[in-house]
């Protein structure tokens, strides 16, 4: 069962890392297509 818990834990940690990474990279269409002329705040 340790492998199962390790797998679940790794999935959570990877998801948290991906969330920060994606937002740092400005992945969303809102972030990519916003400009000083188009603010979606």
């Amino acid at each position: 069962m340790k492998a199962m818990l390790a797998g679940f834990t790794a999935a959570i940690l990877i998801a948290i890392g991906a969330w920060y990474g994606l937002n740092h990279a400005g992945f969303s269409s809102q972030a990519v297509y916003s400009s000083p002329n188009v603010r979606l705040e």
């Binding site: 797998g7 990877i14 998801a15 890392g17 994606l22 269409s29 002329n37």
Partner: protein, 422 residues
């Protein structure tokens, strides 16, 4: 030979996977969807020649019959509108009648915008920002709700129902022979880690994906709009983020298990005997993975590629646009017209590309979920001793003898003996 046959039979496991039945159900449902739901609007009763003739009275402009045909859901050839976007090259002189329009009337200008034929510029940069009007949204919304959500839901419920009936009729597949008390290592820690990394992330992807598909029609009634808005927001964040864990898990599984999943002649025999699904006395031999599991393995790989490719396209919208080229290629084959369907729509706006991507992503998701429901069933409730393979990693020797006899022989030949019971 008789002795050998008896020995082989004794050592072969009774494989009651039911994967073949599950896959057959999926194929039947998909075929039914394709048959019952035409890809394009109904053309029955549409007299294109009469519509063209009627337009002679209006100088080529659309008529009441055109509008009524569209409202009936019939797809008419709209080339006469799509191309009626003015003629700047032959515009009247600036001092002439309507010369200031530059050869393009207001109606023609709006028509050009309507069909994305106008050359527009926008201060916001991006592939989709200068498309001011696109009319694929309603078609996509209706297809998403009337076909994908509806039939996808029935597919999942149908799978659960089939498994319930199968369980009531067949019961739990037991270990037929006497248990030895000896344990065989079937999956090591890295195998199990990769499996649970993939499984855990897949379950979260499935739940959050279903929230995206069914949240508005069902959950709002239960929890209210405010709570659902927050719930759906977090659900989407989880879906986007945990997908990377799923991708890593699938890659790990592929490299760890691909060598065990190469098809061979034993698979044909296993399939011919239906894996022993309907007969306790039939025990087709199998290696580490039987033919049913190999089908699942390769299906998972193909569906993962489809789901991940479309998922990344949705995650990073408008960067990867493929359906326009794919549709043009399919139209060029002429298969659709041969089968009585209209050609697929081209060209596509970037928004329409995303709409088709979402549909394909959802279709992959539902097929994937249906298959995994069957996988979860047979790995837990459906078969005695199966969960141990991914739980502790060790399986009862008799279980291995009944379900993976060829693999057991290899293991015993390599190790000389089995591990004692814990």
């Amino acid at each position: 030979m008789g002795h050998l046959r008896t020995t082989e039979k004794d050592t072969m496991g009774t494989r009651k996977s039911g994967f073949g039945a599950f896959l057959a159900l999926i194929v039947l449902i998909v075929l039914a969807m394709l048959i019952l739901t035409p890809l394009t609007a109904d053309r029955d009763g549409l007299d294109e020649a009469a519509l063209v003739a009627a337009r002679q009275e209006t100088g080529g402009a659309q008529t009441r019959e055109d509008i009524m045909a569209r409202q009936r859901g019939q797809q008419i050839d709209d080339t006469f509108r799509r191309t009626a976007t003015g003629d700047p090259a032959n515009a009247a002189a600036i001092t002439g009648q309507l010369g200031t329009l530059g050869g393009v009337s207001d109606a023609e200008m709006w028509r050009a915008l309507r069909y994305d034929e106008a050359s527009t510029d926008a201060t916001s940069r991006g592939p989709a920002t200068n498309v001011l009007i696109q009319d694929g949204g309603m078609w996509w919304l209706e297809f998403r709700e009337d076909v994908i959500a509806k039939w996808g839901g029935w597919l999942l419920l149908g799978m659960i129902g089939v498994l319930a009936v199968f369980y009531l009729i067949r019961g739990r597949v037991p270990i037929v022979g006497e248990k030895t008390g000896r344990k065989i290592l079937r999956f090591g820690s890295i195998d199990r880690f990769a499996h649970w990394l993939t499984a855990g992330s897949f379950v979260m992807l499935a739940i959050t994906g279903l929230v995206s598909m069914y949240g508005r029609p069902y959950l709002i009634d239960v929890m209210g709009k405010e709570a659902h808005a927050d719930f759906a927001h977090w659900s989407k964040l989880i879906h986007n983020s945990i997908s990377f864990a799923f991708m890593l898990g699938v890659v790990l599984i592929f490299f760890k298990w691909v060598r065990f999943n190469i098809p061979n002649m034993n698979d044909l025999r296993w399939l011919r005997q239906m894996g022993g699904l309907f007969d306790d006395s039939v025990h087709p031999p199998a290696g580490k993975f039987n033919a049913g599991q190999k089908i699942i393995f390769w299906s998972v790989m193909l569906m993962s590629i489809g789901a991940v490719a479309t998922g990344l396209s949705l995650l990073l919208p408008f960067r990867v646009l493929v359906f326009d080229d794919v549709f043009a290629w399919i139209n060029g084959l002429g298969v659709l017209s041969w089968a009585g369907f209209n050609d697929l729509p081209v060209p596509l706006t970037p928004q329409e590309e995303m709409q088709y991507t979402q549909i394909v992503h959802a279709a992959f998701g539902f097929l994937f979920m249906a298959m995994i429901i069957g996988h979860i069933y047979i790995g837990t409730l459906g078969m005695e001793g199966a969960f141990d393979a991914m739980g502790t990693g060790y399986v009862e020797e008799q279980w291995a003898r009944e379900h993976h006899s060829l693999w057991l022989k290899k293991v015993k030949a390599r190790d000389g003996t089995a591990h004692p019971a814990e």
